[in-house]
Amino acid sequence: MTFINPWLAVAGAAAMALPILIHLFLRRRQKPIEWAAMELLRRAVQQSQRTRRVERWILLVLRCLALLLVGLAIARPATVTALSMNQPVTMAVVLDDSVASRTAASPTSAPGQTAFEAARTACIESIRALPSGSLVHVFTTSGTIEHTGDAVQPDRAIAILGTLQPTFEPSRVRQAVDRADDVLGRSSMPGRIVLASSFSRGAIDTEAQVLPPTKAILEIRDVGSDDTGTAAIVSVMQRTLGPQSTGSVTVDVTVTRPSSEQARRNVPVTVTDAMTDRSATADAVFIEGSQRAVATLTLVVDPAVNEHAWMASIPTDRQPADDMRATTISTVSSHPVLVLDRERLDVDEGSSAQWIERALEPIAGMGLAHRRMDPSEVRAGSLKGATSIIICRPELLDAAGWAECTVACEAGALIVIVPPTEETFMDWQDPCAAMLGPGVTIRRDVMNHEPPRRLQPQQPTSPITQLIASELTELVAPIEVDRSVMIEGPSTTLSPVLVMDDGAPLMVLSTKGRGVIVMLATAPVPSWNTLATKPIFVPLVQETIRQGEVLLDAGGSVSIGLGRLPTGTTELRPIRGSTAAESSLTVDPSGVIVSDGVKPGIMQVVMAQDATASMSRRSSFVALNVDPAACDPQRNDAARLAAWLNQTMSPQTNVVTATSSTQSTTSVSVWLLLAAALVVLAETLLGRMFSVPEPKAA
């Protein structure tokens, strides 16, 4: 017999001693009492105390027993499976071959053994213990093995297991167990599912995944994982975007570590350019108590090359699954920013376009290139190649112009929209709202604020303002807004970048297709606000363009098993990966990789011809990464895992835990609780029966 919560069983056993200790403690505390009528006392003791002592011992034993039973019930005991050892069964082996299984197994297992190897050994043990005549199905949690539906002989199943290797896919336990239960439901023999996994956080997300109640007996083989001294890369981000005058790029690599005491303090990180093999190494230094640190690396780049692919890795990590992350970075913005406005020369205060153009190019040679285009001239194909489009006169865009902007956005462009500064009868609000997303509305009337609105000191976190976040409170303080338009929409569609003191958004962010849309609720001219004349304006405009382009889904990074590739991708050719000599991967029209053996690394994107023509911004590479959450080697909290198991159990489900085959805990626990209740009842009745009625004085 074993327990799902063995500590609670120990606690129950310890609690059993409580009544005894209380009994002894109370007994020890009594001082001797002088008494005159000793002879009468002696006779009374002879007459009744022996009987009463037996009665009290019975009550004490019952109290101890009640506590023990409650402790055992909470500990969820599991008995050895009641399956007849001689009766053939159909067993479905669900082996965890996800990326989480690449982590080291429990420290108690064989040295150097991965969780996958330990789980496979456990499955083989279960298969070998099967009675003759039994059949076996083999499933994997990554779902990469297509199950044929035919059961095989145990020897064949063991051979199949021997050929399996851990993948880089996330764990899909629920789907695997579901499929196994379905298959066993069609079998004429009793069914039994063996689920072998490390049950680490990566393998089992106890909050997101719910194991369905199975009809077959479910054995859980927990092989454990070792998360001591590990670290994982969660992101690689370039600090600056645009023309690289210095010929070098600074990259921030964010590394996490577990919260255990054995966690490492310094984690060396290496970043390698996939194209040139140039690399740099720096340490991510964790401060006391922190689980996250950033390593900053500077790499020399060729200014002539527009796009780079980086691979960050931890060379000395114990866990091989989560120590590499690849990313693609554009180092040069080859396409100028397109500003949609008419050329105007007679405006005293300057138009929105003029203020924005000044902000894009504050110092000659260091800014962002831009060119002006009349909104009325926007026609099909006229926006091709533009990565950033700033619409300063939305009222001048006709339906064809809006349609073209929408296409450009969906194809992967950054659209920045500014409300018109002059009164107009043209309907620009509705097409603009439609572009921002479903449920978004823009009020037709312009709101005049008297007194002027200010911005909240604490602005929301946004990718657009992430690099100026530390100074944002100071920068927004002097801004006064006299006029603005009201933008409303669901939080799932619009995320605020800047908000005014009444909570109304001043700047919002939305995505459409592979593009990004940023809209200002106020025009950057002095008659509307003081925004354009304050220090925030230049960094805000430049960061909007730079960070907006970073957000564009143009190739970039894709999580294995989770992300979808850009539309039109047909093939991925390996450039550099976790292992050499990779073959090309085939991608279906929906952007899902259909080939087996997907591994992390930098892949060259091969696109269909028509897709290439429609793309505004083409990317040469895509970085395939493992999902950091899917390979988290940290142990699931025992109580949470137990609760997760309880949640998945039905009265017919037999759950087996640890390394031994055991049977349902639910029914045993219920019976134990029932027994405890009966014991308490018996104790109460006996106590009442034994209690001495208050006698009358002599």
Partner: protein, 322 residues
């Protein structure tokens, strides 16, 4: 509270008595309390000479013929006189170690015996001596002859019976000076007292009677054999009578008995049954010899003790007339 508002019974409560430091004062307060508190004294109307006339029968002494009646009616009548009684009372107080038991708390500075001062409680010996002193005071105030003795395994101190004026002082001195120790042997004490007693006497024995009932039976048999009257006043502490304790602890005897581990909750019923049986046994013994047993709770007033004595005395006086 003014003293005028005090009722007589309040003088008889142990709490009040314990606060009266001088022994004499305590006894006097008790006696006065009893006398004032009783509506009809059993002594009222006593000691009148003439009782009744009776027709002369042959054999009657002619000394008591009432010649005046004969002169008027020519019939012979004999005058009968009420006999003047003079009661002898001997008070025997148990001074054994078990009498030092008491649970009623007294405060520092209160009066009492050595036992009180040592234990800080109103002991059975305190109650017995207070009662004995009050009894003696009452008897002396009625010009009865009274003596007192404190005994344990033998007589320790005794004051011979007398109705003299300084008898009271002697009695008080005796009661307040004797220690409480050893075991009580009623037979030994009675033997010693009988050796000094010639007249018919009322023996008042104040004890907890927790010792061997056989020894008591022997003592009572001796008293009966000599034609004496006796009253047994059992002084028991309230806790002894109720065992109102909820403890599991070792109990040790005051007279050197072996210690006993007792859970009072488990044996209370049996103990009280045993106590009942024990007291009933002593009562049976006493009644077999024509004597009475009165049980007193030392947490309660000593008034009933005195009332019992007075009732008994009246009975003896009436018996003497018959």
């Amino acid at each position: 509270m003014s003293t005028q508002g005090l009722r007589a019974e309040q003088y008889l409560s142990p709490e009040t008595l314990a606060q009266l430091a001088p022994f004499e004062l305590r006894a006097k307060m008790v006696a006065d309390g009893v006398m004032n508190g009783m509506h009809q004294s059993p002594l009222q109307g006593m000691a009148v000479e003439f009782a009744a006339h009776r027709q002369y029968t042959a054999g009657d002494s002619i000394r008591h013929l009432d010649w005046k009646v004969f002169g008027r009616s020519d019939k012979l009548y004999v005058k009968e006189y009420r006999q003047e009684t003079n009661l002898d009372v001997m008070i025997l107080v148990d001074g054994s170690a078990s009498m030092s038991f008491g649970t009623l708390g007294v405060k520092q500075g209160w009066g009492g015996t050595d036992a009180t001062r040592q234990r800080g409680t109103w002991t059975k010996f305190d109650h017995a001596t207070a009662s004995a002193a009050a009894l003696a005071f009452l008897c002396l105030s009625q010009r009865d002859r009274v003596g007192v003795a404190v005994g344990a395994d033998g007589l320790r101190g005794a004051v011979r019976k007398s109705a003299a004026r300084d008898q009271w002082r002697s009695i008080v001195r005796c009661l307040s000076s004797e220690p409480v120790e050893a075991r009580f042997s009623p037979a030994a004490c009675i033997n010693q007292l009988l050796a000094q007693t010639s007249h018919r006497t009322l023996f008042v024995i104040l004890s907890d009677f927790l010792g061997d009932p056989e020894g008591l039976r022997t003592a009572l048999a001796r008293l009966r054999h000599r034609g004496h009257d006796a009253m047994l006043l059992a002084m028991l502490d309230h806790r002894e009578l109720t065992l109102d304790l909820d403890v599991e602890a070792p109990f040790i005897g005051l007279e050197g008995e072996e210690a006993l581990d007792v859970d009072t909750r488990t044996i209370r019923k049996a103990y009280l049954e045993e106590l009942q049986r024990h007291l009933q046994g002593i009562d049976r013994q006493a009644r077999a010899f024509g004597y009475d047993l009165q049980v007193f709770d030392t947490h309660e007033s000593v008034g009933p003790v005195l009332a019992a004595l007075l009732s008994r005395r009246e009975g003896m006086v009436a018996g003497g007339r018959r």
